[in-house]
């Protein structure tokens, strides 16, 4: 009973790993949005700017 269950469970885990790895599923880096008319037309500064990031390196 356990062996049958574990065999099925293991195959499921392997299949799941194969799927997410092959498809390259990643946690979202940021929200995907849709910008009407395309981003190229909204540049420069019209879409967004990074000034708020505040990154100035480690020193």
């Amino acid at each position: 009973m356990f062996k049958a269950f574990y065999a099925a469970f293991g195959i499921l885990v392997l299949a799941g790993f194969s799927f997410v790895t092959w498809r390259g599923i990643q946690p979202a880096m940021g929200q995907r949005k849709y910008v009407a008319g395309g981003l190229r037309g909204a540049a420069h500064g019209g879409y967004r700017s990074f000034w708020y990031s505040g990154f100035h390196g480690g020193k």
Binding site: Y6, S18, T21, I25, Q31, G37, R40, R48, F55, H56
Partner: protein
């Protein structure tokens, strides 16, 4: 034979035995004593309590060839509650024999002349007399009787007694009802030993219908399995504790601590060692060392012999426990904790000396059990067996009881009582044997787990090899040139209308890559590499679909610092970072990049590489998650089944013992003291 009339009711009474001292009238229960002056009315005794005894008056028997007939009995109340029968056997030789019957055990004795009996006040349980161990001292009360009695019975009179036991089932009693006291010597025996075939007797009907009692507090049914023996019962519904002595239900209190539920339900029937048992009572007990340690005990009633046994459960380990004659145990220090005791040629090593406390009770018990009741217990072990010595002390009685335990697996308990799902132990039990060649009971499914992990790693290798890893952009940017459009660009790709600015000491540039084609179905890696000298570069970007307008942002925080401090070189930061995008739809995409760096430093070089279908860091996380998921079923199965003794050592067993020979040698240590001589 002398026939007379009862001085109380006038009914006929008969002295069949010439040496009998009294007869209890069958009509009015008056005790009629035979004196020099005639018959004397000593008062009435109470009606007989149905103790479920298979014996009866006029029953013949034979002990070692000596025939006898049971002619009478008295019933005594024990100071701890409970009633026992004293049967009087008139031997064909004219001698009297006393047959005491309690909890399915029979003790036959005859009076022996002794002149050196110890005074009652000098007695101590565990003490010795004539090679016998004093196992109990107390005060008994005469409550009922019938037939002919060899002594002058006075109703409700009390007398002090001492029970002693010795090797080879020897049993003796010192009776302090007279001065000088009387000595009765004999043995513990069985019905077969008394020459009585109980199967030939008519089944007895319990006259006290206690089995049909209902709880006085909640009205719930109290299903008694040992109505003739039980003294206390706890209602399983509301926890009300009742006294049920002599069939009368008397409410005492409602127990607040209901304790755990029994794993083997009360009333459940089962077979252990070919004997039929019913679970009558259940209690949780504890001992306190650095903290409280709990275990549970199941009182088992054996209907055929009217006797009791115990099942003890401790952290998934079980043991079957039966009382043994104190005299059958060779104990050099009956009142203490001798390093080694012996029984039937087997030596047992002392393991623990502690005070056990009753924490909760449920069901019925043959003594007046109470929560908080304490008893000193000394445990000895010789796995898979053990001996426990318990001291019970009250104002009225002092007892020392030895019991023998044998280890049982949860599977055996399940098979014996038809229950399932008992928890499996994860530790080595105190009595659990560690036998060479024992079937390994390690991790359940670990072979499959290993196979799955190997398959998983192989799969990861195959995926890494077969993923497209298609490079679709590989650009080299001189950000200084981009920030200074007048300068000559050396970029490998011209940029699309870069805009630059300098603000707050930071130089900024924004540009677009040329559109590139993504086949889709895989992830996308945007890798940035720069070459910095104690500086930083921030790259914020957006991947966007030229057609659909889908936008997903990312950022790369690149920095590199280095120097010497306290004579040592140090570096900090990373100049190579990647961002990953989840599965993309096929289409034409571009990157909008924004770079910022310290304006006082030269604009850094920035290498941008875009690849489709790569094995990412996240896939390593998935690999870890998959391995963790694969451990769960074996872990649960192993926990349910138990690890078993494989892998444990004797040192593990003795870790919790106050007498451990590992690290603290006990006195008179004997290397083979816990080994079996008869194994």
């Amino acid at each position: 034979m002398a026939v007379a009339n009862c001085p109380s009711c006038g009914g006929p009474i008969e002295f069949k035995i010439g040496s009998s001292a009294a007869v209890i009238c069958d009509h009015c229960r008056t005790v009629v004593a035979r004196t020099d002056r005639g018959l004397e009315d000593l008062g009435k005794v109470a009606p007989l309590v149905d103790t479920g005894s298979p014996l009866r008056r006029d029953l013949p028997g034979k002990i070692r060839g000596a025939g006898f007939r049971l002619v009478g009995r008295t019933q005594m109340r024990h100071p701890m509650g409970g009633v026992w029968d004293e049967w009087y056997a008139a031997f064909d030789s004219g001698q009297w024999g006393w047959i005491a019957e309690a909890q399915g055990k029979y003790y036959v004795t005859v009076k022996e002349p002794r002149t050196n009996l110890p005074p009652y006040d000098m007695l101590q349980v565990g003490g010795m007399y004539d090679g016998l161990t004093v196992s109990e001292i107390g005060t008994a009360t005469v409550i009922a009787g019938e037939g002919e009695i060899p002594w002058r019975v006075e109703p409700n009179s009390t007398y002090q007694y001492a029970d002693l036991s010795g090797a080879n089932n020897r049993f003796a009693t010192i009776d302090y009802s007279e001065q000088p006291p009387l000595f009765f010597d004999g043995e513990e025996t069985t019905l077969e030993g008394l020459g009585i075939n109980v199967d030939l007797e008519q089944p007895r009907v319990t006259t006290v219908k206690v089995a049909k009692l209902a709880c006085s507090q909640c009205g719930g049914p109290l299903n008694l399995v040992a109505p003739e023996q039980s003294e206390r019962i706890v209602c399983p519904n509301c926890g009300a504790l009742h006294d049920i002595g002599e069939g009368n239900l008397r409410y005492l209190e409602t127990l607040r601590n209901r304790g755990p539920q029994p794993l083997v339900p009360l009333g459940k029937e089962g077979t252990i060692q070919n004997e039929h048992y019913i679970v009558a009572g259940f209690m949780q007990r504890s001992v306190t060392f650095d903290k409280k340690y709990f275990w549970t005990e199941y009182l088992l009633f054996q209907p055929k012999k009217k006797s009791f046994a115990w099942l003890v459960e401790d952290a998934g380990h079980w043991s079957f426990v039966k009382g043994v004659n104190a005299g059958s145990v060779s104990d050099p220090d009956p009142r203490g904790a001798a390093p080694v005791i012996e029984m039937s040629g087997k030596k047992y090593r002392v393991f623990q000396d502690s005070v056990a406390t009753v924490e909760s009770v449920a069901g019925e018990f043959y003594w007046k059990v109470s929560v908080g009741e304490t008893a000193r217990a000394v445990d000895y072990i010789a796995p898979p067996e053990g001996i426990s010595k318990e001291f019970s002390d009250t104002a009225e009685s002092h007892e020392i009881n030895y019991s023998h335990a044998r280890y049982m697996m949860p599977e055996e308990i399940e098979a014996a009582f038809g229950v399932t799902g008992l928890p499996r132990p994860n530790t080595l039990g105190t009595l659990q044997p560690i036998a060479p060649g024992q079937k390994p009971r390690g991790c359940v499914g670990c072979g499959m787990f290993t196979a799955f992990v190997v398959a998983l790693l192989a799969l990861a290798g195959v995926l890494t090899a077969t993923l497209p890893k298609r490079t679709i952009l590989n650009n080299h940017y001189y950000l200084s040139d981009m920030a200074n459009p007048q300068a000559t660009t050396t970029s490998s790709e011209s940029w699309d209308q870069p805009t630059t600015s300098t603000e707050g000491g930071e130089a900024h540039v924004t540009f677009f890559t040329k559109p590139f084609t993504v086949n889709g179905g895989h992830n996308l890696e945007v890798n940035g590499i720069t070459y910095l000298d104690n500086s930083w570069l921030y790259v914020g970007g957006d991947l966007f679909n030229e057609k659909t307008g889908m936008v997903e942002p990312f950022e790369l925080k690149l920095e590199h610092y280095e120097g010497y401090e306290d004579g040592e070189r140090w570096t900090e930061g990373t100049q190579d970072l990647s961002a990953y995008f989840s599965t993309l739809a096929p289409g034409t995409y571009s990157l909008r990049m924004e770079g910022a760096w310290d304006a006082t430093k030269p604009g850094p070089v920035f290498d941008l590489k875009v690849r489709e279908g790569v094995f990412s860091r996240m896939d390593l996380v998935y690999l870890g998650i998959a391995i963790v998921l694969l451990t769960i079923p074996p872990w649960i199965a192993t926990a349910r089944r138990g690890v078993g003794p494989r892998g444990f050592t004797e040192a593990d067993r003795w870790r919790d013992s106050m007498f451990t020979p590992y690290g603290k040698k006990i006195e008179d240590d004997d290397d083979d003291s816990s080994s079996s001589d008869d194994d």
